[in-house]
Subunit: 209 residues, 2 copies
Amino acid sequence: MLFYDCATAPSPRRARMFIAEKGLEIETRQVSIADREQLSDAFLAVNPRATVPVLITDEGDTLTENSAISTYLDARFPDKPLMGTTPSEKAQIMMWSSIAEAQGGMPVAETLRNSNPAMKGRALPGPANFEQIPELATRGVARVKLFFELLDGQLQGKQFLTGDSFTYADITAFVFVDFARVIKQRIPEELAAATDWYTRIKARPSAAL
Amino acid sequence: MLFYDCATAPSPRRARMFIAEKGLEIETRQVSIADREQLSDAFLAVNPRATVPVLITDEGDTLTENSAISTYLDARFPDKPLMGTTPSEKAQIMMWSSIAEAQGGMPVAETLRNSNPAMKGRALPGPANFEQIPELATRGVARVKLFFELLDGQLQGKQFLTGDSFTYADITAFVFVDFARVIKQRIPEELAAATDWYTRIKARPSAAL
């Protein structure tokens, strides 16, 4: 297998944490988004949609979405499942990962991409160029604050988002909460359950990679 | 089980098609988004995030995301799998559903919600109110056209998005392509593979529900 990573971006970090938590070692190549390497002819030949992460599997598939990379690895290497074993567990984990993507990941990305001068003309990932929309940056900050409250509500009385086990849903939510530093947002201290959860995950070896 | 549906909205249609394709019959309640019933106290007690679809499972879980509802039903009722059986199949299906959500569903929703006078002050689903951003509507139309091209590329030489079998990925993509009518966009005839695929799915009984 071959894993295309970018050390500075949140999406590939999700796959990197997942691979580490599964205890897998996969040959890795760095793609520098700062140098726009994802738009190079060499990388577009790997993924014409110009995004990382990418996992090339032993079957020869090119997987370009975290949902797909995680689903593949959890199905192929079922030891230490991170996406659940019962129908109920699988559903809860998928649900909270989807919620974290839509309510956390999207607003952080929208704020960064629509306000950072370095991303002028590049307000969306992918091969096409789109201009920044400043209102999206403002809206994103408001939404991230709501996301922190949503997490805190879900984490009442729980160690992790879906119960007592660390899962794919925690990876998704943690990576986006941590990345909110780029828009100067962090979980307010008074949200104790969410703060404790964040601290607990930050201490895992996979979070330091 | 109990399924909260809304006959006019694309997200619950995905779950409705999935349930029908699985051959399941589930007690269903309609939630009228036109009447803002999703914001009623009664429905907020079911889903405080004010979205449909919702599936209440026999285990008592409240599932609020299509990814979760489909994952649950495919795991619990493994006959007629719609999300694959091998790791490779599962990953490809998840990948194309995620791509269709991000590259198709999002732009259609952004265009409708940021241009329709009836959605003034309701530019995002959920309990919080956000103002419309007209630039998002313009951007959405451009992105939907790119999505049609992406689908056509993927469908070259294929009956369905991930190969010879109809799956969850086809449901996701079809529902958003079909819903693009509300922003007056449809697959251009010259994209023959995508047009044929759309016609093929439109003819399935589950698409008429």
